[in-house]
């Protein structure tokens, strides 16, 4: 009897697909919340890889089996689309930058701590590799602090590493993605200044359906799901504008 039920269950399971997704490091936390909802509602499975957008670009050009890319910028998906490696580009999140310390009370609500000099190291992501790093440099430039603070800057190769430098206390302060330090609309720990969006160009993060996922219903379903109200509300709760 059990075997019979198992056999009957196979066609349903076969219809549910699997999608391989390359996810920018800053979007790790929200994506890990979105995927169980997506899987429960559609029956599809999503396999996530986290990393930096530049690395994903190199891997995709060299045949990586990803079907959907959730990039940390809009330039890389656009480039891939131009090269004929994907389609259906849209902005799934607009990133917000935060100046964060794990020490409570070190960062004030206006970011005046940057002028105080009460810190030895300021962590940022590499501006050439990470849009959040570029936004951090732009912010420092607009505040007129870039040259004075330059000797204190330490660069992570991506935003996850900038976060790690601050989280381990090796840097007292750092520019990180708000999504890394905020959940459910609240700061998880330490102190932070949410950098006003007027201080840097918007960090548009685009999704792209890659060539390998063109005929995969699970990939199309995920692209749709990310645009849905439920996903958007969750993305917003991590501090993204969308």
């Amino acid at each position: 009897m059990g075997i019979l039920f198992a056999l009957l269950a196979i066609p349903a399971a076969a219809r549910a697909g699997e999608v391989r997704v390359a996810v920018a490091a800053n979007f790790m936390a929200p994506m890990e919340k979105i995927v169980p909802l997506f899987e429960a509602e559609t029956g599809h499975k999503a396999l996530l890889s986290f990393g930096s957008t530049g690395k994903f670009y190199a891997q995709i050009r060299n045949g990586a089996p990803f079907e959907v890319l959730l990039a940390a910028d809009d330039a890389t998906p656009e480039k891939l689309e131009r090269e004929g490696r994907g389609a259906g580009r849209f902005t799934y999140a607009v990133g917000r930058l935060a100046l964060w310390s794990r020490q409570a009370g070190l960062v004030d609500a206006q970011g005046a701590v940057l002028r105080s000099g009460r810190f030895a190291r300021l962590a940022v992501a590499d501006p050439k590799l990470a849009p959040y790093g570029a936004a951090a440099y732009e912010t420092l430039g607009n505040l007129g602090l870039l040259e004075t603070l330059r000797p204190k800057l330490v660069q992570g190769e991506n935003i996850a590493q900038a976060y790690q430098f601050v989280a381990t206390g090796n840097a007292q302060l750092g520019f990180v993605a708000l999504s890394q330090v905020q959940a459910d609309g609240k700061l998880k720990d330490g102190s932070a200044w949410i950098v006003p969006a007027s201080l840097h160009a918007p960090i548009r993060q685009d999704a792209l359906l890659l060539g390998k996922g063109k005929d995969n219903p699970a990939a199309a379903a995920l692209m749709r799901y990310l645009r849905g109200d439920k996903a958007r509300a969750l993305i917003r709760s991590y501090g993204y504008d969308i």
């Binding site: 930096s52 690395k55 962590a123 590499d126 190769e157 790690q164």
Partner: protein, 227 residues
Amino acid sequence: MPIEMEALQAIWLTVKLAASTTALLLLLATPLAWWLAWTGSRWRVPVSALVTMPLVLPPSVLGFYLLVALGPDGPVGRLTEALGLGVLSFTFSGLLIGSIVYSLPFAVQPLQHAFEAMGRRPLEVAASLGASPVDAFFSVALPQARGGLLTAAILSFAHTVGEFGVVLMIGGNIPGQTRVVSTQIYGYVEAMEYASAHWLAGGMLLFSFAVLLALAGLRRHDARVLP
């Protein structure tokens, strides 16, 4: 395409780091290898295992624990702060500490093999001729183990040049201070600057080939003492 300033800076820093690491490692590894070769202590096996660990640990593990240890709450960080040196992560000294840990087995093992291959006999002869242990070490043992010494130096240097995961974790990617060749190449690839990446990565290929050639030459020259 000419090689860029930042690449030259990374090459110079890498050479400086590898040379300093090699010099310090030889000072540190020689007595350690000597002790491991001759001691009857029950600590020999655990110490030997500890020395070998960087060979099998992923650099991300070493890098992560170094980051934690060097940080303000870590044991090394507390010590360096108490000594007035500040926190060493993101500095050249921090990279130097990381490289010494990372390349330790590459210095200790060839030396230990060389000492063991030499055997006790030359030292006994030196002692019977009236040489003090220190004299015997410097005028008999070290010259006998020169093949091992050279191999240790070459491997330490080359292995430090090839270091990646540890610097990525504790370096902070600061041009001229902590950005070495391997992280510079990684940055070029990530930034999609493939032409620059090829220049530097191709150079590394030639360099490692040259190192292995040199080692093969040494091995032929002095097959007895090399691992």
